[in-house]
């Protein structure tokens, strides 16, 4: 009873915030709704006893990704937002792709036979560390390579197109 109430306490905000992301017009509001959703999902992890996962969810997504997202959004001008409307042909394509993705998701959720049972060792970061460095070393390394590539790409995009001339020929350039 109590667990169900707390589940609703986190699940309802997750859904509401998810819908609100789609419905809100202001891009910064969208970002804050997204953050609310991420925190609520973290709460669901806590409820399931996966404390490490919940804490990492909040730390990485809310503390890192979401803050950088809002930071980037704040730098864009407010007049840019109305131009982001899709055209009629794009709407059809977007609808088709989204419907296909949704169908896939719903089907996979419906097809999987869910096992209800206690987590083997819910409270141990050491277990997670062992499995990441053992069984799942391949995917882990792949993810880190992907992140490295993304970082290099970002650095490439952000580099000045013209070499920066330092004033008075000083060695170090200060922005």
């Amino acid at each position: 009873m109590l667990e169900k109430a707390i589940f609703l306490l986190f699940a309802v905000p997750t859904v509401v915030a998810g819908v609100a992301i789609l419905l809100s017009k202001n891009i910064v509001r969208m970002a804050f709704w997204l953050i609310a959703m991420l925190i609520a999902v973290g709460g669901l992890y806590f409820l399931m006893g996966a404390y490490f996962l919940g804490v990492i969810q909040i730390m990485v997504y809310v503390g890192g990704v979401a803050v950088l997202l809002v930071f980037g959004v704040m730098l864009t001008s407010r007049q840019l937002a109305p131009k982001l409307r899709p055209g009629p042909m794009e709407t059809v394509w977007l609808a088709a792709v989204s419907m296909a993705l949704l169908l896939g998701l719903v089907l996979s959720v419906a097809q999987v036979r869910w096992v209800q049972g206690p987590i083997a060792s819910p409270n141990s970061p050491a277990e997670i560390g062992h499995s990441v460095m053992g069984d799942f070393l391949g995917p882990f390394e792949l993810a880190s390579v992907l992140l490295l590539v993304a970082m290099l790409g970002a650095a490439y995009l952000a580099r000045p197109k013209v070499p920066v001339q330092s004033p008075e020929g000083s060695k170090e350039t200060t922005i």
């Binding site: 804050f32 404390y51 503390g63 803050v67 950088l68 809002v70 704040m74 409270n123 970061p125």
Partner: protein, 442 residues
């Protein structure tokens, strides 16, 4: 006289009625309350106890557990509030003493101790202004998003080996995650205010806090690698055997990691010399420029609550937590005293060091602090590989290093005590006591 005639204001709404009644009957009620404070306190205690007993005995066996949690959470909230109130008063006194002033002297009986309470009362009465073009819901929400996570961090901080609300295997990460949410409130406030000062403050806060989170976490990881646990209780228990067993003296990497953590924590609390997000000389008041009244107080509270939280982390992970310098004398008081000392050093920094520029802040993090903490993490991990019974020669070397580091620590404390004492003596000899007898607070 026309000037002295009070304007006839038609009071409307409950809040104004409450204010009017409070100004009319408040002094009487306060006097009565203070006169019978002890009676009221004991009556409340008796009633609460009876309530808990009745509920526990007759209504629901689950409820006392729930009530106990509520009592502990309210206690932690009260502690955080007291920390903020004392911290704000102490900040003003420290700044005053460093600038050869007296600071608040008149509220309360002793050295203006009630100044924060008086300010709080004043702020409650202030009008709650919201700019016309602000993003209303986000503007209203931002102070809560800043303050509540800072309070929640106290749920996982242990005050003693058994003095913790919830011990978790990931207590350290929990505190760090909640302190990371706090950044969000600052950005929200800056953006929702729709003012350029606020927006600049928020952007500085975002880039500074996100950058400094990494050296902060890496410095803490050196300590975590030395103990092998993320639980704050385990980290404290590992340092039970007196001064030389404190983690800061365990190896040279930990010794340096304490200082890098402390610098990064200054930046993560937006304290000087990294207080760019609210740099008064450039940005009016930074991200909280547009806030007034109690919403401003909430930002102020959040700052001091977070200061104590990061100092508490430094105390638990590097400075022995609740353990005394002599083995076996551990008590929560040690924890509070050490954390309060670190908070005090933060204030001391603020009034000693000049504010640095935003590009210097980023350079300091990315070019110096980040590589340094990465090296510390590597070195600390390598030290753990060799500092075990399998390498007896290295263990001897490690013990010598420990002794030397412990003695350096003792020397630093001695230097501080000598310096502070000599400074006090020197000032007394030059100008005598700063507090004059004719001041009411003296």
């Amino acid at each position: 006289m026309l000037v002295l005639e009070r304007p006839k204001v038609e009071y409307r709404g409950w809040s104004l009625t409450i204010v009017r009644l409070a100004t009319k009957w408040g002094p009487w009620a306060l006097a009565l309350l203070l006169r019978f404070a002890w009676v009221i306190f004991f009556a409340v205690l008796v009633v609460l106890t009876a309530f808990v007993w009745i509920v526990g005995r007759f209504i629901n066996p689950l409820l006392p557990w729930f009530l106990r949690d509520i009592v502990v959470v309210v206690g932690l909230l009260a502690f955080a509030c007291i920390v903020a109130i004392i911290g704000i008063w102490a900040e003003r006194k420290v700044s005053a003493r460093i600038q050869s002033r007296l600071g608040p002297m008149r509220s309360g009986a002793w050295h203006g101790w009630a100044q924060s309470l008086a300010d709080g009362l004043k702020f409650v009465q202030k009008e709650d202004l919201i700019p016309h073009s602000a993003d209303q819901p986000l503007f209203r929400l931002a102070p809560y998003v800043t303050l509540v996570p800072a309070f929640c961090a106290y749920l996982a901080i242990p005050f003693g080996a058994s003095w913790v609300f919830r011990d978790s295997d990931v207590g350290l990460l929990f505190v760090l995650a909640l302190l990371a949410i706090e950044v969000l409130g600052v950005i929200m406030a800056g953006w929702a205010s729709n003012s350029k000062w606020s927006l600049y403050g928020a952007m500085r806060a975002a880039c500074q806090l996100v950058s400094y989170e990494i050296p902060m976490g890496l410095s803490l990881l050196v300590g975590v690698a030395a103990v092998g646990s993320l639980s704050l209780i385990d980290l404290g228990r590992a340092q039970e055997r007196g001064w030389f067993s404190w983690l800061i003296f365990q190896d040279p990497f930990l010794f340096v990691a304490f200082f890098t953590y402390y610098i990064a924590s200054l930046a993560s609390c937006k304290r000087s010399p990294f207080d760019l997000p609210e740099g008064e000389s450039e940005l009016v008041a930074g991200f909280h420029t547009e806030y007034s009244g109690f919403r401003f107080v909430m930002f102020f509270f959040a700052e001091y609550v977070a200061m104590f939280a990061v100092s508490a982390l430094a105390t638990i992970i590097f400075l022995g937590g609740w353990n005394a310098p002599v083995a076996g004398w551990s008590s929560p008081w040690w924890f509070v005293i050490k954390s309060a000392f670190l908070v005090w050093v933060q204030m001391w920094f603020r009034w000693t060091l000049p504010r640095i520029r935003i590009d210097q802040v980023m350079h300091a993090c990315v070019k110096y602090l980040l590589p340094l903490t990465l090296l510390l993490f590597l070195g600390g991990s390598a030290w753990q590989l060799y500092d075990n019974p399998a390498h007896p020669a290295f263990t001897v070397f490690a013990n010598i290093v420990r002794a030397v580091l412990g003695l350096i620590g003792l020397g630093l404390v001695g230097l501080y005590v000598f310096g502070a004492g000599y400074g006090y003596y020197y000032r007394q000899r030059l100008v005598g006591s700063m507090v004059r007898k004719h001041l009411p607070g003296a």
